[in-house]
């Protein structure tokens, strides 16, 4: 008959095992514990002490059970750890910011006060991050236990470029997030008005640009994102991609210059209220327009040159 202590140990050790092997393991371990205890008592050790010593040496029954059942004693092992980490970081960079912006826009649309807007969007972003981390980890822990393959195999082409030419993941993520925020801001501006002057909501951009011109700009942003994703997947810039990048930049320049030239970019009501009402005369407004045009052209030109420089640098490696 087993003592209470041994019985407790056996219970704990076989608890997680499949029922088919439970009795087997129990009988085997019982014999082991009794043999070992007997050995010690024969050497003159007190039986109770001997039993304690034997059980202590066997160690945590949960570990023994895991060894018996061939269960991993880690949540995510070396086979999946890096894939888990990479995916988690990527998702955490994308999902919570998008959720934050989305909630902020919807709060603004329903006219929530600033405090509620900030609190609500931060709260949602935080809980989104927790959810992403939790569920990704759950999936990988399950993979670890079912022995499935992720099908992700490393090969030498994945090595990072020697000289970081900007074809990094951070670039893509920044591009996605910025394009999202910018599109959202554009649409919000048209639907709700981004500027608040003398108690009145005004859109910054000309309301007559909605929907054709505004949606054309959003489409350009989407293409810009698609390009960034392609660059990320390819891991490098090519002449073709630089040419596409140039085409997009030129399209943006013509979009902006056409509207600035016609004086249709900015909401005329806004110019009246914000500039004319404050004593800014027509020539100054024209100068501001020119400065704006120059800024658009300069930044787009830089974007074009940047693409070609990166394409050339990547070709050399």
């Amino acid at each position: 008959m087993n003592t209470e202590l041994t019985e407790r140990y056996l219970q704990a050790a076989i608890a997680g095992l499949p029922t088919s092997t439970q009795d087997d393991v129990r009988t085997e371990l019982t014999a082991l514990i009794m043999d070992a205890t007997e050995d010690r008592t024969e050497q003159g050790v007190d039986p109770v002490e001997a039993e304690r010593a034997v059980l202590t040496e066997l160690g945590d029954p949960a570990i023994l059970a895991a060894e018996y059942a061939d269960r991993p004693l880690q949540l995510i092992g070396p086979r999946f750890y890096l894939t888990w980490k990479r995916l988690l970081i990527l998702l955490l960079w994308i999902v919570p910011p998008v959720a934050l912006v989305g909630v902020a826009i919807s709060q603004a649309l329903v006219g929530a006060p600033m405090g509620a807007l900030i609190g609500e969007s931060l709260g949602v972003a935080l809980s989104t991050a927790v959810h992403v981390a939790f569920w990704v980890t759950v999936v990988f822990a399950a993979l670890e236990r079912t022995g499935a393959q992720t099908g992700v195999e490393w090969d030498v082409d994945q090595l990072p470029e020697l000289q970081s030419s900007g074809t990094t993941r951070t670039d893509t993520i920044a591009s996605v997030v910025l394009a999202g925020v910018f599109s959202a801001a554009l649409i919000w501006d048209q639907l709700r008005g981004a500027v608040r002057l003398e108690g009145e909501s005004l859109s910054l951009l000309n309301p007559e640009l909605w929907p054709t011109w505004i949606l054309a700009l959003v489409a350009l942003l989407v293409l810009e994102v698609a390009l960034a994703v392609v660059v990320l997947i390819r891991g490098r810039w090519t002449g073709m991609l630089a040419a596409l990048n140039t085409a997009l930049a030129v399209a943006f320049i013509s979009w902006a210059l056409t509207l600035i030239g016609r004086g249709e970019l900015i909401n005329p009501e806004f110019i009246d209220l914000a500039l004319h009402a404050n004593g800014v005369d027509e020539p100054t407004v024209r100068i501001i327009a020119v400065i704006l045009a120059v800024a658009v052209v300069a930044s787009s030109m830089w974007d074009i040159v940047d693409g070609w420089l990166k394409a050339r640098r990547d070709r050399r490696h």
Binding site: T27, A31, L32, M34, A36, E57, G59, I63, Y68, D70
Partner: protein, 115 residues
Amino acid sequence: MSDSHDLHLQELRRGTVVLACLQLLRTPGYGYGLLEDLERHGFATDANTLYPLLRRLEKQGFLTSEWNTEEARPRKFYRTSDEGERLADTLTTDWRALTGAITSLTTESPRAEES
């Protein structure tokens, strides 16, 4: 001894217990008896490593088992299967090759650098 020292020793010994079990169990034996035999031969092992190991080897088909209920307490007797014997032979051959290789590291004249 330092931790890393022990760790290397442990790494080197890992796997030898499998070979020792397969060889000793050519004549049937049960867990606790095997534990003592291993210790006598210089393969000190803990019960909590050996018992799950025996079960794994059985599941892989390298050992067969049988309950012996003739004695006071029932014991599970393990025996090396044919497949287990083949594995033991392979491992032994490999171990000999390794012994030769390791000996050659120190006894052979250093590789002639001028040739």
